[in-house]
Symmetry: C2
């Protein structure tokens, strides 16, 4: 099973690495990091680079497509090479998935037309501009299309997918292997649970990047 | 604030990227990925490489030391260049931290002598062989030394640390920014919560690598 994770300048590392850590443990799975050009691809802050071992064109028809998010998605919303690759891959994939603003790229490629989908809470409404039906939920599945909420939600999405690919025992074994028994130190992980002043703080900080 | 994450052949990606995703968002923080030699460093399955931008010697005295785990730690338990770097960095650090089997490297360097510490549940007892007191807990703090349990526990550890570095409001803002409101699809994330057959399954699978 070939699992393609396309990278791009200014992606968010945990969006990609959460699902990688789960899906790479599936029996017979091979995760391949791709980009427009092979080589190191940097996150939005420039502090981390993951190597894209191959160009997108090297794997036009993966079994699983997993699109991460990040500020870099904004520059790709009308990037035809990336959107064409997503469209072509999706047409033949067993599963098409995203984390965070990766769903905006799926939407821009037309993959989410008329489908319910999720994204990072700060950009959720923007999905509607591209024909999707935004749903404030951590993981949203519509047939073979699974979208996850912001950044860390990719771990939950990937475990959900792992169970459908290989069965619940395998998914649970992977969850135990990565000791995913979360104990967040605060109740601040969603705009519904976080204090209002924290939500405002994050919205103001994010506006700097807009 | 300089945050050093040392990489090594066969590290576990999420061990490093979970804390990176949290700590890189601290105001004024710079996360630097280091290794014995600069260049791409591969995970245990060979599918992912993160770039070490500098050699370990480029940053002998980081403010924060964050040691990830992975099968590759076994080859480093008597690697004097790595252990010396850890010892020297720890002697001057504000915080010394680890995820998963990264605590075995801290222990081998003598950093955990007489201290309570945690690690991946499968190797927890081995900490005692190096003078630490194993504690089955997700995050263990002893003064400036903070260790985390397996793989995904680095996110919880880093948020705990972020609150002590920059205050609870900043830590909560980061938690909301990465939408860390986990919804694991199964109750299988620890040996205490997972079904016994799943625990056996993971122990047998892991024995293949021993």
């Amino acid at each position: 099973m070939e699992i393609a994770i396309p990278l791009f300048d200014r992606f968010t590392a945990l969006d990609a690495v959460g699902p990688y850590e789960v899906l790479s443990r599936l029996p017979g799975a091979r995760v391949r990091f791709l980009a427009a050009e092979a080589g190191p691809v940097r996150t939005e802050n420039g502090m981390l680079a993951i190597t894209a071992d191959e160009r997108l064109s090297a794997l036009p028809e993966p079994d699983v497509l997993m699109v991460p998010g990040g500020f870099g998605t904004r520059a790709l919303m009308s990037d035809e090479p990336m959107l064409d690759w997503i469209r072509h891959a999706h047409a033949r994939s067993r599963w098409t998935t995203s984390v965070c603003t990766g769903s905006l790229l799926l939407a821009a490629a037309g993959v989410l037309d008329g489908l319910q989908a999720t994204s990072h809470w700060m950009v959720l409404d923007a999905l509607a501009d591209y024909g999707a039906q935004p749903l404030s939920q951590r993981v949203v599945q519509q047939g073979k299309v699974i979208t996850a909420a912001g950044v860390s939600a990719g771990i939950d999405m990937a475990l959900t997918l792992a169970a459908q690919i290989a069965g619940e025992d395998v998914a649970q074994a992977i969850q135990l292997g990565i000791e995913y028994d979360p104990e967040p130190p605060f109740a601040a992980g969603s705009p519904g649970s976080a204090p209002e002043r924290i939500v405002s703080l994050v919205q103001r900080a994010s506006a700097q990047f807009a």
